[in-house]
Amino acid sequence: MKEFVRKLIENNFGKIVFWLALFFILDILVFRQIGADVLEKDKLSLYFLPVGQGDSELLSLPGGVKVLVDGGPPDALVLKNLDKILSPRDRYIDIVALSHAELDHFGGLIEVLKRYRVGVFIWNGVPKNTSAAKGLMKMIKDKNISLISLAAGDAILYGISDIKVLWPPENTVASGESLNETALVFGLESKNTRALFTGDMGEKTENKIMADLANGVDILKVGHHGSKFSSSASFLEAIRPKAAVIEVGKNSYGHPTQEVLNRLADVGARIFRTDRDGLIKFEVADDILRFFVIK
């Protein structure tokens, strides 16, 4: 065996030097990345992922906890975007949240659960009887991920971040009411910044949660891809968002509607669209809110 190793080194000296050099360079790159991660940890970053016609957001809270909200339709777009955002060694997501069990919100999550280790899966607790939705539930079970339904009044506290669930009320079941109005709606408050995640909620829900949002909102995920039955003028007037993100792709519903674009412009919100801007990132560090548009 010793003889073998000696021969191996003698015959391949050049190669060994080359590979050592290569790994040395890569090491430096890796450590730089780790260094960058440590610096990132103190920031609040909100990403809005361009996943076509569907929703997907990634929240990176100060301290390093990651929350993935929805995963877009069933294709690899959410994975592609996560690979852009996370470092290649990062195979763990702390919380995956599903607003409501519709394919353009959870389709991509099945692959995410398959490929990433996930701490906890939270949702509105309203099941849907489709084969894909059953596939999602089966994956959660197979992967042994704890499944928690949240309702209005529940909250997730982590460091200086505070996630408050505003909707739906407890013991909501799928009734005649549309699934969209049962969507998990929550506000995030962290680093003096307020963001609102709305799923596909419509005007009806907006009217019910308006009172909880008296302090206003800095960043709004516009409800239901910019449908005219969401984002009512009175709701926008009440929360006065500074930035409004519409997550939308090619669709036959006419999303985002001109009505919503006008209403958002009327309250002075700066409008971002995942179909035009690509990946949108908001970052709060040292009391400054910056935004980046990553094509």
């Binding site: 050049g14 290569l22 490929r115 894909a132």
Partner: protein, 499 residues
């Protein structure tokens, strides 16, 4: 005439017959056979050489090949002929369905109108079905039509979609029917086990690596291409590197060489060779033992045998045997499977043209012992590419010269990547965290490779042209003459032959 020559000429004529029948030359086949026989008989009298009489007699195999191919055609056509009616049928999934985008393709074996047939069912992505699932399908069965490119094939078939499906033995297509699972695990247990093993390795790669790198590693080690994004597929095509992820003879030969290198360090060469061969068979079975992989394994083994034994070994009959076996199993591959043609031509290039080029440039035989194997890689790529170029141009309308550069650069890393990839697969069976650490080592290599592929995918230097058949024949004749000339010269100064 010697038995091995009888086998060679007989097989070549048989293959020619299958080819001519596939091109539907029907009546002409008899005329060609008769004309060839006559020509060889005349040659025999002229040259006073009995060999030509033998060859004249063997040319009857053209007709036999044609008959064989025609019989297979008839056998397929007589089976259930779909009329577009809506049917409710039960069947067994006989492929390893690969979800792609928002759909999955299931090959369902069932009995319709008394005939056992294979139906392609295009189903929604979820729920996912598996090999061996017994399902009930309610939908309209249509005849396969030539529209769009086959998604299942790694390389687009040169013929239309219908011919591609006919080659796969598919007699009808159902799009997005109602599908219900009746029972699981009704397939062959060993095949089930192998597909499960393969799928779980692909899943593990996905758990430890970013999506694109994981997909590339799955292609490299297991020939699994279902997770590739359309953009990446296009980059592979433009950079001329698709063969890397198609589990070609090249990948398989790396598997053999690596196992050989590992085994010879503690085993006798001959025993090591046998063990490596057993390992190869297991590997082929694990990747699903699809026809293309079996072919690659035979090819890979041939390449290794050829390089192991220098140029004294004459692989002519082995190559012929491999081709003959493939065509006997499915006569349609000869004309309707570009992948089949490409891999055969590439092998012929590596086995015959590469030594000729080495001689021509006065390079040491069997590759140099330098730090890098770029010269070896360049020679190998060039000799393979020179032979496949006309087919690439003819079938896909383009051939990219950039593939010489991209292949030489990428091939430098591929053997190490494959070995680390297999190591990660083994680690993942032990512990997720061990596999994660393995992933940190293999990731940089994968990143470099996918980066190079994407970079060279930008150079669309494709030569866009069409060639006439005459030109293609002249091209191959020139190469053949070059090879023959170099080997004659080589016979004169045979001191260059490795002892």
């Amino acid at each position: 005439m010697e038995p091995y020559n009888i086998f060679f000429f007989g097989s070549v004529f048989f293959l020619a017959g299958v080819g001519l029948e596939s091109l539907k030359l029907n009546f002409w086949i008899l005329i060609i056979t008769a004309a060839l026989a006559a020509v060889f008989v005349l040659f025999g009298f002229w040259k006073k050489n009995r060999r030509f009489f033998w060859i004249a007699g063997l040319s009857a195999f053209i007709a036999i090949g044609a008959l064989y191919s025609a019989a297979a055609d008839r056998n397929f056509a007589e089976k259930y002929f779909p009329k577009g009616e809506t049917l409710n049928f039960q069947g067994l999934i006989v492929n390893n369905p690969a979800p792609r985008g928002s759909s999955q393709s299931l090959y369902v074996r069932t009995k319709l109108s008394g005939a056992e047939v294979k139906i392609l069912v295009k189903a929604e992505r979820y729920p996912e079905f598996h090999y061996g699932d017994l399902i009930s399908v309610n939908g309209a069965i249509k005849k396969p039509e030539s529209e769009g490119l086959p998604e299942q094939a790694g390389l687009p078939a040169q013929a239309g979609y219908a011919q591609y499906l006919a080659k796969e033995g598919i007699s009808g297509v159902v799009s997005y029917p109602e599908v219900n699972l009746i029972a699981e695990n009704k397939g062959a247990p060993f095949k089930s086990f192998l597909f499960n093993l393969k799928n779980s390795i692909v899943d593990r790669f996905g758990e430890i690596l970013p999506a694109e790198e994981a997909a590339f590693l799955s292609g490299l080690t297991l020939g699994e291409r279902s997770d590739f994004s359309p953009e990446f597929k296009e980059a592979l095509q433009t950079s001329g590197t698709t063969h890397l992820v198609a589990l070609s003879g090249y990948n398989v030969s790396i598997v053999i060489v690596a196992t050989m290198a590992l085994l010879t360090s503690f085993l006798k060469r001959r025993i090591a060779f046998i063990v490596a061969f057993i390992f190869l068979v297991a590997f082929v079975l694990m990747t699903g033992a699809e026809a293309s992989v079996v072919r690659a394994a035979i090819m890979g083994a041939l390449v290794v045998i050829a390089t192991e034994s220098g140029r004294i070994f004459n692989p002519r009959n082995a190559i012929t045997l491999a081709g003959l076996l493939m065509v006997l199993i499915n006569p349609k591959v000869l004309v309707f499977d570009a992948g089949f043609e490409l891999s055969f031509l590439a092998l012929i290039g590596i086995v015959y043209l590469k030594p000729a080029l080495e001689d021509f440039f006065n390079l040491p035989i069997g590759g140099e012992k330098g730090t890098f194997s770029w010269r070896e890689n360049l020679l190998m790529t060039s000799s393979a590419q020179l032979l496949v170029a006309p087919i690439l141009i003819q079938s896909f309308g383009n051939f990219s010269p950039i593939s010489l550069v991209s292949n030489v650069l990428i091939l430098e890393f591929i053997p190490y990547t494959m070995m680390l990839g297999f190591a990660v697969a083994v680690f993942s069976g032990i512990s997720h965290y061990l596999a994660l650490i393995g992933g940190w080592f293999v990731w940089p290599l994968l990143k470099i490779e996918t980066g190079l592929i994407e970079f060279f995918g930008n150079f669309n230097l494709s030569l866009n042209m069409s060639l006439s058949w005459i030109l293609i024949i002249i091209y191959y004749l020139v190469i053949a003459i070059f090879i023959v000339k170099m080997s004659k010269k080589n016979r004169l100064n045979n001191e260059r032959i490795r002892p």
